[in-house]
Symmetry: C2
Subunit: 504 residues, 2 copies
Amino acid sequence: MFESAEIGHSIDKETYDKEVPALREALLEAQYELHQQKRSAVIVLINGIEGAGKGETVKLLSEWMDPRLIEVRTFDNQTDEELAHPPAWRYWRKLPAKGRMGVFFGNWYSQMLQGRVHGVFKDAVLDQAINGAERLEKMLCNEGAVIFKFWFHLSKKQMKARLKALQDDPLHSWRISPLDWQQSKTYDRFVRFGERVIRRTSRDYAPWNIVEGIDPYYRSLTVGKILLEGLQAALNTPKPKARPSSAAPLPDVIDGLSLLDCLDMTQHLEKDDYQEQLITEQARLSGLMRDKRMRRHALVAVFEGNDAAGKGGSIKRVAAALDPRQYSIVPIAAPSEDERAQPYLWRFWRQIPGRGKFTIFDRSWYGRVLVERVEGFCTKADWMRAYGEINDFEEQLSNAGVIVVKFWLAIDKDTQLQRFQEREAIPFKRYKITEEDWRNREKWDLYRKAVCDMVDRTSTEIAPWTLVEANDKRWARVKVLRTINDSVEAAFEKRDKHDKKHKK
Amino acid sequence: MFESAEIGHSIDKETYDKEVPALREALLEAQYELHQQKRSAVIVLINGIEGAGKGETVKLLSEWMDPRLIEVRTFDNQTDEELAHPPAWRYWRKLPAKGRMGVFFGNWYSQMLQGRVHGVFKDAVLDQAINGAERLEKMLCNEGAVIFKFWFHLSKKQMKARLKALQDDPLHSWRISPLDWQQSKTYDRFVRFGERVIRRTSRDYAPWNIVEGIDPYYRSLTVGKILLEGLQAALNTPKPKARPSSAAPLPDVIDGLSLLDCLDMTQHLEKDDYQEQLITEQARLSGLMRDKRMRRHALVAVFEGNDAAGKGGSIKRVAAALDPRQYSIVPIAAPSEDERAQPYLWRFWRQIPGRGKFTIFDRSWYGRVLVERVEGFCTKADWMRAYGEINDFEEQLSNAGVIVVKFWLAIDKDTQLQRFQEREAIPFKRYKITEEDWRNREKWDLYRKAVCDMVDRTSTEIAPWTLVEANDKRWARVKVLRTINDSVEAAFEKRDKHDKKHKK
């Protein structure tokens, strides 16, 4: 796979000097045009052999192009904050906005390669990381990103010759970094696993470019031309190429019976029972959140439901059990300008709690497969692929110890009407009801179908949906609290069991 | 994910009886049409909970449709022969031909689920298996297959109730199989990992259908309708839907230097040296093939090269070292009718040697990215995706201990001309040269590009290409033999090291 990048490619100085001015001009022009269109973010991943010119090339790009629109990011040691979050969080927070370019050193590929080369894990785990990267990049591209992946290469002989030349030169021996020495020892493994990674992740939407690094003119000109070609292709595509979704079609059910039909909407609690159970569950939650085992977890609760189903009231009862420093409530409305300049899931990733913390989402990323689907705010391909993207997202949370609890608060159509009318009648509740609520009501059946599809596709062992019969608010509130408590307890117990097993 | 299949779906007998006749007729009609078109093979994968009606449904399908066009395959215990081959070999050999339907019980999903449920491996390895299945199915669909995946489901409660009912009934308690009892113990794990598998492998081209199994009418009608709909869709597609290849584009090199340019075509051996080295390497090969470590490996040698580059002569020198029972030579020409009714790689899978054996391919699966590409015998999407498919194929061989050695015998244009002319001049060699050889020669540069792309994409650590300077036949023959010997020795040593490490 690297054979063609070990044969001594080179460009003479004359050719280089002749070609560079036009290339620079074209690159700058493409960069400005991209910035104006604000349709795509550009992500450049820099990988490969130490000493093959990674740093020099990035430096050169910043000279050739406008550095104000370029963010160079290095991901080496994780900060405390990063360590308290799922691994991908650090990449999400550094994603360039649309119209800008992010150059990522020490990116996800560097992490997985280092881990494998140094034997932290085996091929199977490497393959998991590879698939994670593939899914991430596919999603980013579907969200309009343009990804360039460069592997700067040197053959073992070239690398050794370079090290020797530097070492023998008293003026330049300081240029040899600890990484260089490490690489010279692990070269074979690094290249072997690098090949596996490249082979599996080189895709039309985010291809790898293997660039022989020995000759600076060849290397720079090659990278410049690949960038230019890719940028121009992106600029000239009428819209960011939407890849066909590979999600399975949504099935029809021949007997017409749906999950929502099976809820017992007469469930209710008497006032006394309610007050007793509510306070019991609140006390339980309070205790669980202060349990020292909570330091290894975070908690996310998602509230979705019919309009007027009582999301707000339930959230209030949850919050009432806690110290305000322990939780935050994130209401989700239409995205801001900054949020629109990022991939869909970005604004949720931003709000993921660190270890020991609890975040309540009042509406959530499920907007994509509910309101955006029903109202046509995004294409079918977009919301169809969202099921898989959301499952990936929640799996990453779960793998990092985040407990994800998801509620759909269901009321029937009559109850909704009654509550709408009450809201309109009571002055201090009137702000709670808008024209939009009435319009949504007309799409009752469409929402119903969307909810069932959502549950079918995204209720997972990792992050199951809980359907809450919410005609009776008391019943709903207690069920919500109890479900959260049960989930947290189950997570603690699972971890205890795991710890016990590994202590043996 | 299974919630909607645990709510007691049912169809009354009257509706069922009314709908079945038309369904049967339509299914039969679709089946015959499919058989006539001979464009698609149908593969039906049967999975799910024991007792959810898997067997009954398949039985019913054989009644509803023409059983002569249906092959029901059960993959339970592996035969000796299957154990001597890579794991996927057993599926390949049982693939239905185009126009026919194969129903697979105990398929790849059953294997991976059993393995994970019983703790033979962990999630990472399960994920590898999942990805393998995904790639296999994608390839099959690209080759025209229509895949149906059914998960027959019962909730834990339903399953237990069924077992209890059978147990209490003296007339039917014998119906409970050991698998049923096993399932009742492992239900939770089975469903948990089943969900993971379904979530990751439900794709538009091969979606999972989760069917609640408790009511036979509902179950049968649902499966029948899904089959019918899928078959009709396949029949009415003008051509088997070619999915866009997601292979990365082939790069251009700015200095025009290619791997083939870097071969030293003046390499040669004097006659005496040749004879000595040839006999040495032949003796070495003979010894290696009789080494008892060979019993854990198989050997595959692939010969590709320019016309008249001396493939035949080299193969002869390799074979001369061996007992004819140890090896077989497979010449690859245009595919037969049976072969054309199968996916591209099928005819090569058939020829993969079992442990201890050696197969020499005189031309190979690389025809796809060489002659078929250059001559336009397949679409660009087909040969572009072949790089990845071939890498997957060879990785499966390698994982199973098959040593894969690949040669490109390169001669320069003048040498070819000279050999063509010689062949025409010498009567007993005249059969070796045809009009086609002269036509191929005109496409010299296209083949050259195809060869370089092939090496860039498919020369892997697992199965590297060896470019052989073949202007001098002696040099080429010795290099071929030595490379085979070195590869076999390296594989033995790697295995010894591995064994030693795991004995410690």
